[in-house]
Amino acid sequence: MAAFDFIPNLGNRILAMVPRLGTASRFLVLGLAAIFSRHFSFRQLLRQVYGLGVLSLALMIVAAFFTGMVLGFQGYYALVRFGATSALGTLVALSLLRELGPVLTALLFAGRAGSALTAEIGSMKATEQLSAMDMMAVNPLAWVVAPRLWAGIIAVPILCVIFDLVGVWGGYLIAVPVLGVDGGTFWAQMQSNVTFTGDIMNGLFKALCFGLLVTWIAAWQGYAAQPTAEGVGSATTRSVVTASLAVLGLDFILTALLFK
């Protein structure tokens, strides 16, 4: 019986997603546009950049360092068979700049900052703080949502640049002092194959899109959460899962479009 129900159920679920996506999109547009509202506060924006960005920095640096070192090792063992270890710098830099930097930054951001954001907005809703704000004639979209959305858009690219740099440095530390690749070749090969617009800026553009996507999903899940302790908990889980999958999906689309 379950097997027969599967297809119609799937169809119903997909159909049910359409209006929800519409509401979420409306939320995004209104939330971003609320930057022009008179209740938008630059100070709140700074606070959120601090909360979402600065507080994620240590995590990003540690993760980037290890990622770079692993790339150094794996790249070396793959290239040494072809006697092409001179391309190690290129390999490390391109993997980080084009893919690993933006994607890992976004995934870690979803886990660290996105979940906190969902829980915060969700519990504000559950304890009627959002309704209270609305009753005090202060638009919660402008006061609560807009600073968080914009902070995500600002913070993720910055975190990504730092991730890229620390990662390359980690790769260098393994390649040159540990594995004995020539330092001059490492940098020279990297420089001749990495372009500013094609690789660095496209990577950052990805990070910008991911930042928007992750904060959007996180804020929306909190805003639409069932106003109970249980509801906020499940919204937080959903926020991380949805945001991570969405990042990987969007990464595929962006890669296909940007890097020809």
Partner: protein
Amino acid sequence: MERRAVDWWVGLFVLLGIGALVVLATRVGNLSGFAFSNGYTLSADFNNVGGLKVRSPVKLGGVTVGEVTRIRVDPKTFMALVTMRIDPQLRLPVDTGASIYTEGLLGEQFIALQPGGMPQDLKPGGTITMTQSAVNLDQLIGQMIFSKASGGK
């Protein structure tokens, strides 16, 4: 007090991001994409461009002086028509030659320019007539085996 700490940290965070971007741009990437953006274009016909790609470097005496901007087939001559952008400060004689070389055995391919001795310069949009195509490794190995085999008899 706390307000100041937030401002301070956010400022530092943004500066760190900008600093990291500058280091990435100069140390990890090359800004060559920008350096030749105001350069002049030259074109050259090759029988075979091998693995040459758009953005492959154009070198003179080992120094990068430009990049490939476009590769297409000339429908009349059936030759590969390569368009490149050259450093505007560099004036090349009309009898300059262009060859496609490979950097090392597995490296990327690039165009090497050999300047001639004529007093006239190539004008922007001009064509390099003396060209040497990419070396076809398969052909080369085939030839070597063939000559070895015939020589051994």
